[in-house]
């Protein structure tokens, strides 16, 4: 069964370093998302992406964050200068046709630890 894959599964970084989290969405999906879950807290929407541009972003997704689909298969989340509070599990998700189909397919997540 097709699945969303994410790498790395766990990354430890020093505060102030840049981090890139990678995702390979399901191949025929057109809508891509990043969510995050701080340990013990709710899953939070970060950004949605369609047709090579950001569709919507939350307040969390400030100038330190960026997303890119560099080669038609990967979908990346970059955090420019990490802060301690960026420590979280980051989930990538994809969807075939946006809200019309509803179901989001999530990856297993990338755990980011900022020291």
């Amino acid at each position: 069964e097709p699945e969303v894959t994410q790498t790395p599964s766990h990354q430890v970084t020093q505060m102030g370093q840049e981090v890139i989290l990678r995702c390979v969405p399901i191949s025929n999906h057109l809508y891509f998302y990043w969510y995050r879950q701080i340990l013990g807290q709710k899953v939070e929407f970060l950004v949605s992406f369609y047709n090579n541009e950001i569709s919507e972003k939350s307040e969390i997704f400030d100038d330190q964050f960026s997303v890119e689909r560099p080669d038609g298969s990967n979908f990346t989340l970059k955090i420019r200068s990490t802060k301690l509070e960026d420590s979280a599990m980051y989930f990538c998700a994809s969807n075939l046709a946006g809200g019309r189909t509803g179901e989001l397919f999530f990856g297993e997540g990338s755990r980011l630890t900022v020291l």
Partner: protein
């Protein structure tokens, strides 16, 4: 905030019993979705119910939606040990899948 709040926070039942989880939210929605998360794993979509629907079934799952009370419930019938997980409701205001998740109910099914 339109984030959902689940009730109860934790639920422990015997295998074979039914489990009911409730979700309340604050603003009008396009649809409401339920997801499951095993510890430390990704989220798995269970069921979506649109704002013009009142009840939906999928296998052993039954979801209801009451838009006047801004609440939803998820019923898992004939629970199994493998149903042990956290269950989240997520509201979608615009239909674009920019979801607002609740705090989750941690379900433990005792064999």
């Amino acid at each position: 905030s339109q984030q959902g709040e689940e009730d109860p926070q934790a639920l422990s039942i015997q295998e074979g019993e039914n489990a009911t989880m409730n979700c309340s939210y604050k603003t009008s929605i396009n649809n409401l979705q339920w997801y499951r998360q095993n510890s430390g794993r990704g989220l798995v979509h269970l069921i979506l119910i649109r704002s013009n629907e009142r009840e939906k079934h999928s296998g052993r799952l039954r979801v209801t939606l009451d838009t006047s009370k801004k609440s939803s419930s998820l019923l898992i019938t004939a629970s199994r040990a493998a149903d042990t997980a956290s269950y989240f409701c997520a509201t979608d205001i615009s239909g674009a899948n920019n979801l607002f998740f609740g705090t989750g109910t941690r379900l433990t099914v005792i064999p």
